[in-house]
């Protein structure tokens, strides 16, 4: 797996200018949108999740996956390298952006280490992980192009579900659920723990689905 991670690192380094640009934009946004650390950390972490997926596109191009599987790499190792690589990149960007924000806040004489901000920062990582949980198996199963369509369909489905929930809520049929969420919202830590548990469960399901996809794949 080390070899695959090195390869992905080399591929990601092809986009180092984009990385720098994004960080610059984040720094500028920081000055333009004062006291909005969560937005900027979220922006950079989700950007990392998007960029991490480009290594799948590079592999897909020119029968790259087929070639990689002729090396001492099994389908399972390939999948594992994608999850590990994605997680490492997410974690790096999340940590780096949090440190960057802490520094920028301190320089500007603003309060960074508040409970609310810390809870928010802790929720960003699992939220972006949920995106990865969907993206990797979709791209492996359908390819980058079709994967985007399926991703759009998933987005549409989520929108429909939210709209349906809203309609039900307005009709007064979700009172019990609303009360539950209301209580959870009052306890930010519980909410964050729920998101973390959900994203880890999603990660386990996503990983085992991706392994199955690779094991069944013919080239």
């Amino acid at each position: 797996m080390k070899g695959l991670l090195i390869k992905d690192y080399k591929l990601l380094m092809l986009q180092k200018r984009t990385f720098l640009l994004m960080v610059l934009v984040a720094v500028c946004m920081n000055f333009a949108m004062r006291e909005n650390a969560l937005f900027i950390i979220g922006y950079l972490t989700f950007f990392a999740a998007l960029v991490a997926n480009t290594t799948l596109s590079y592999d897909e191009y020119g029968n790259g996956v087929l070639f990689l599987l002729t090396l001492p790499v099994t389908g399972k190792t390939y999948v594992r390298s994608k999850y590990v690589g994605n997680l490492l990149l997410l974690l790096t960007f999340w940590l780096a952006s949090a440190v960057l924000e802490a520094v920028l806040y301190t320089v500007q004489g603003m309060q960074f280490f508040t409970t609310e901000t810390m809870i928010g920062i802790c929720s960003i990582l699992p939220c972006s992980l949920i995106f990865v949980d969907f993206m990797i198996p979709l791209v492996l199963r359908f390819g980058q192009e079709k994967g985007k369509l399926v991703w759009a369909a998933v987005g549409g489905l989520i929108f429909v579900i939210i709209a349906a929930l809203k309609a039900l809520s307005e009709a007064g049929r979700l009172e019990a659920l609303k009360q539950l969420f209301g209580k959870m919202a009052q306890h930010g830590v519980i909410m964050t723990v729920c998101i973390i548990v959900l994203s880890l469960l999603g990660l386990a399901v996503s990983y085992s689905f991706s392994v199955k996809v690779m094991e069944k794949k013919s080239f």
């Binding site: 090195i6 080399k10 087929l66 070639f67 002729t70």
Partner: protein, 282 residues
């Protein structure tokens, strides 16, 4: 070393049905027209395509059970697959060094320099010959026991082709117990390289023969139409209608030389073999 037994794979418009055996210390060629099933056979042998039936074994192990350690003993080059073209050789070297215990970054870069491959240039900027050399070098650089080379010389000019073939010959000379399975539709490449040849037509192995036998015992008889009816056909493998009568492929050249001395006879060549096995009738 590599054994395919009654491997069967059905696609919408193509069916692969083949058996083959690659022995240590031999270079085995797989020849056939484009679309005959050469690449599919290779993919089955590497576990990249799951057959509907039959057995594919490498090093005596079912191919689906191969571990990363087993795969370290295999070197593969596919004509249409490789590392991302956005990478350079300098990028690839640490990847290979991490995957194969016998490879070091320095040694691989030195090998590439010796082959006059640019180390800092992206692969997409390489010439066809450079790409082919790099692919074969990647397959050869880790002392593999089994090499699977799919059309390693396709699209190359004479000089580049000879360089690639020389790499394979040198490898075999230095690794006498290694086995190589190689495909090409350039017959002369395989005539000079292979110990034995499999001919595949429409997904089926129609012939397996030692190259020496093929070149010494096979011949093409040019038979006038009036002689064809009375010709002793017991050793005729295929016949094909031609303007002068019939072209007949035999694997018993000496028999016809002795019994039909007046017939025009051409020595067997792989190109003729492909043509006759594809266009001729039994």
């Amino acid at each position: 070393m590599l054994k395919l037994t009654n491997v069967h794979k059905k696609y919408k418009d193509f069916t692969l049905d083949c058996s083959m055996d690659l022995l240590p210390g031999r270079i085995t060629g797989l020849i056939g027209r484009n679309g005959a099933g050469k690449s599919t056979t290779f993919k089955v042998a590497l576990g990249l395509v799951r057959p509907d039936g039959g057995d594919a074994e490498v090093f005596g192990k079912p191919v689906e059970m191969l571990t990363a350690q087993d795969k370290q003993r295999i070197g593969v080059a596919f004509a249409d697959a490789g590392f991302s073209e956005y990478l350079t050789i300098t990028d690839i070297a640490p990847v290979l060094a991490a995957m194969y215990p016998s490879v070091t970054e320095k040694a691989f870069l030195e090998q590439c320099s010796r082959m006059e491959l640019p180390l800092q240039k992206k692969i997409k900027e390489f010439s066809t010959g450079m790409r082919a050399k790099l692919k074969v070098l990647i397959a050869l650089n880790h002392e593999a026991d089994l090499l699977i080379l799919d059309e390693p010389t396709v699209g190359l000019d004479v000089v580049a082709r000879e360089e690639v073939l020389a790499m394979i010959r040198e490898y075999m000379a230095a690794h006498e117990q290694a086995g190589i399975l190689i495909s090409s539709h350039i017959a002369t490449d395989l005539e000079s390289l292979c110990d034995d040849l499999y001919l595949i037509c429409d997904g089926k192995i129609v012939l397996h023969e030692d190259t020496d036998v093929l070149l010494s015992a096979y011949a093409l008889l040019k038979v006038p139409e009036d002689r064809y009816q009375t010709l002793d056909k017991q050793y005729i493998l295929r016949s094909k209608k031609e303007s002068y009568g019939y072209a007949c492929l035999t694997d018993k050249k000496q028999y016809y030389r002795e019994n039909e001395p007046d017939l025009v006879m051409e020595n067997g060549s792989i190109d003729e073999l492909i043509l006759m096995m594809n266009g001729g009738r039994e």
